[in-house]
């Protein structure tokens, strides 16, 4: 599953090889974005809710230390064992230790972006533990030996015919059948067996309530619950930023999450785990893995408010046409491009540049993260630190030159339009990345500068 190091532009090229798929991907995500708009507009206090969510998260980040202490104390009082992991390696080791102690070597896992971030599956496989992902989309990418391409819709990059083939090979469905109903039914049977036979489960956590020590997991499929209520051991993993102060704050977040994510009024299940069942072991792992560092970066700490709804991906013109895998990080899209460089500025230097800075992400974000502004700021930090991707250095130099002189700017614009009109082949060539799989637009007859000069009176 480990990809060789390729950057966003190259990976986007790979995705763009198949024009039909790109068109489908683009349209489908936009359709989800439209569903989000439609349902958000039905909530009269939508903007108030976004403000509230943003303010609660700001408040939490400014009091994170006491809230973590309070959450841990309450969770322990509820009978839950709490672990702390400084980084991905420690997190993975804790999971393995819990399993080893119980002599369990098979695990069923529901969706958790944190475990993707930590590459838990790979680590457990290397240590002889068999992991089955139970979210249908995650199971599909797991069978395809690929990472998820979207945090909410893990296999949005796959066509049903490919899924049909995978299921034929692994689950024995009829060859050539790609009916979603039939494939889902096959997965239901396969995973029911899994739920019934696995003694341990790993789930993510959407919200952890400091006041009560309970945590909430949201799914549509019911897979987290099937895993958790049948297993002897439930391990729930969370980043330390998932804390909210009080139970009633869930009212704000549960109203926003599913509406922002998929345009549903709420997920099918919003399960509140407070105490383990009788004879069940429940563990929570609180993970840092770079979060405290991000908390200290004034310009980027807002990114820790993210509730992983995926709205910024669905709306992003770059994500929609480049695919999640082009981000080569567990969290894809605009928010991933802010989180990744915090962990490794050199490896992920390309990501903040994979944006048009149009601001659409910021407009839809339910917790009002200033996503596009943070991307812009990352570019500056990355350039100053000497990690700028090479192609960007050249074009930025040209841009600095163009913008530095009104004469050059106007001449360059005029020349650009003339070239597009009279010699499009010189623009539509492989040296211009925007031409790949696209036709350049018809050049406007007047540039904005010329139009403004004519019309400003």
């Amino acid at each position: 599953m480990i990809q060789e190091l390729k950057h966003h532009a190259t990976l986007a090229d790979d995705f763009n090889q198949n024009e039909d798929r790109v068109g489908w991907h683009d349209d489908t995500l936009w359709w989800i974005r439209e569903k989000r708009d439609k349902i958000a507009w039905q909530v009269p206090d939508w903007e108030l809710l976004r403000d509230a969510a943003s303010n609660i998260k700001d408040h939490v980040l400014s009091n994170l230390n006491p809230y973590l202490v309070q959450f841990e104390a309450n969770a322990i009082a509820n009978g839950i064992t709490v672990h702390w992991a400084a980084d991905a390696a420690e997190h993975n080791q804790i999971v393995l230790n819990i399993l080893r102690e119980k002599e369990i070597n098979k695990l069923v896992k529901s969706k958790s972006m944190l475990t993707e971030e930590c590459h838990l599956n790979d680590f457990l496989a290397e240590n002889g533990v068999d992991v089955i992902d139970s979210d249908l989309g995650e199971r599909i990418v797991q069978l395809a030996e690929e990472p998820p391409s979207h945090i909410v819709l893990p296999c949005i990059h796959k066509k049903k015919e490919e899924i049909g083939q995978l299921f034929h090979k692994h689950l024995g469905t009829p060859e050539g059948n790609s009916d979603p109903q039939l494939l889902t039914e096959a997965a239901r049977h396969h995973l029911r067996e899994t739920f019934l036979s696995r003694k341990a489960t790993v789930t993510g956590i959407n919200f952890a309530v400091a006041e009560t020590g309970e945590f909430v997991v949201c799914t549509n499929e019911g897979n987290a619950d099937m895993g958790a209520h049948l297993a002897d051991v439930h391990i729930a993993c969370m980043g330390i930023e998932k804390i909210i102060p009080e139970r009633k704050d869930l009212g704000v977040f549960l109203r926003l999450l599913a509406r922002s994510a998929t345009g549903q009024p709420i997920t099918t299940y919003s399960s509140h785990f407070k105490k383990p069942r009788e004879n069940q072991e429940m563990h929570i792992i609180l993970v840092d893995n770079g979060r405290t560092k991000q908390l200290g970066r004034e310009d980027f700490r807002n990114s820790l408010k993210c509730i992983r709804c995926g709205a910024c991906m669905n709306t992003c013109p770059v994500y929609r046409r480049s695919g999640g895998h082009s981000y080569h990080y567990a969290i894809t899209g605009p928010i991933g491009a802010i989180l990744a460089p915090n962990l490794d500025m050199e490896k992920y230097a390309d990501l903040p540049f994979a944006s048009t800075l149009c601001g659409s992400c910021t407009n839809v974000c339910p917790v009002k993260i200033d996503i596009h502004q943070q991307l812009y700021k990352w570019r500056q930090v990355i350039v100053q630190s000497g990690y700028a991707p090479k192609a960007k250095v050249l074009s930025m130099k040209a841009m600095a030159f163009t913008f530095s002189s009104p004469f050059v700017y106007h001449t360059a614009g005029k020349m650009g339009r003339a070239v597009l009109k009279y010699a499009p082949f010189t623009v539509n060539n492989k040296f211009n990345p925007w031409y790949k799989q696209r036709d350049m637009p018809e050049p406007p007859s007047a540039s904005f500068g010329e139009w403004y000069k004519k019309n400003r009176n």
Binding site: I32, N63, A86, P265, R277
Partner: protein
């Protein structure tokens, strides 16, 4: 230094200046008929609904619609047609349950979610593992939104609780909606009173 001490120290060093806890005043539109909104929303996400005045009608519905298969319910009124003493069984043995019937504390109009806790479920797994699910809710227990829901829950102590809105579903294959992912294939809501 332990990881816990290390993380807490780093958080303390890096967290910004304290901001007060915000006060949120939810906006509640007046004159809305919560029951109407609930019904419309529930239908919109694939639940089916019945309005009954008492348990006899519930029984009639169950016997006419679910004539074969195992039925569980912690409700004493249904003891002649359902298993009511399953709470002490191993959770795995519920694997072949066709229908589970439970009471919900309340419903929420804006999303048609129903709040149930372990005390009403007999077993945590029961509303997830059954092929079909029936939830009963009093007509007078339909609240407007999630803020009212949490006001109503208040400080209640439960070991496990969940909001259930509609049948289990997935759209992971090319965004085609399929009901019955891992949990119940259908949700029947009975509004009592």
């Amino acid at each position: 230094m332990s990881s816990k001490a290390q993380i807490l120290a780093a958080v303390l060093a890096n967290q910004p200046a304290k901001l007060p806890q915000p006060v949120f005043e939810p906006f509640s539109p007046q004159g809305q008929n919560n029951l109407d909104v609930f019904v419309k929303t529930a239908k919109g996400i694939g639940s089916s609904l019945h309005f009954f005045s008492g348990m006899q009608e519930v029984k009639n519905l169950i016997t006419s619609s679910f004539s074969v298969g195992r039925i569980i319910s912690p409700l004493a009124e249904l003891s002649d047609i359902a298993e009511t003493d399953f709470a002490d069984l191993d959770a795995h043995t519920l694997e072949n349950v066709e229908l589970g019937v439970f009471k919900a504390h309340f419903g929420v109009a804006e999303n048609s979610a129903l709040w149930v806790t372990e005390a009403l479920l007999g077993k945590r797994v029961s509303p997830f593992i059954c092929q079909h699910l029936m939830l009963l809710v009093n007509k007078t227990a339909i609240l407007q939104n999630m803020h009212q829901a949490y006001d109503s829950i208040g400080e209640a102590d439960y070991d496990f609780g969940t909001f259930i809105a509609g049948p289990s579903k997935t759209a992971d294959i090319e965004q085609s909606l399929v009901l019955g992912a891992h949990g119940p294939r259908s949700l029947v809501i009975v509004i009592l009173g």
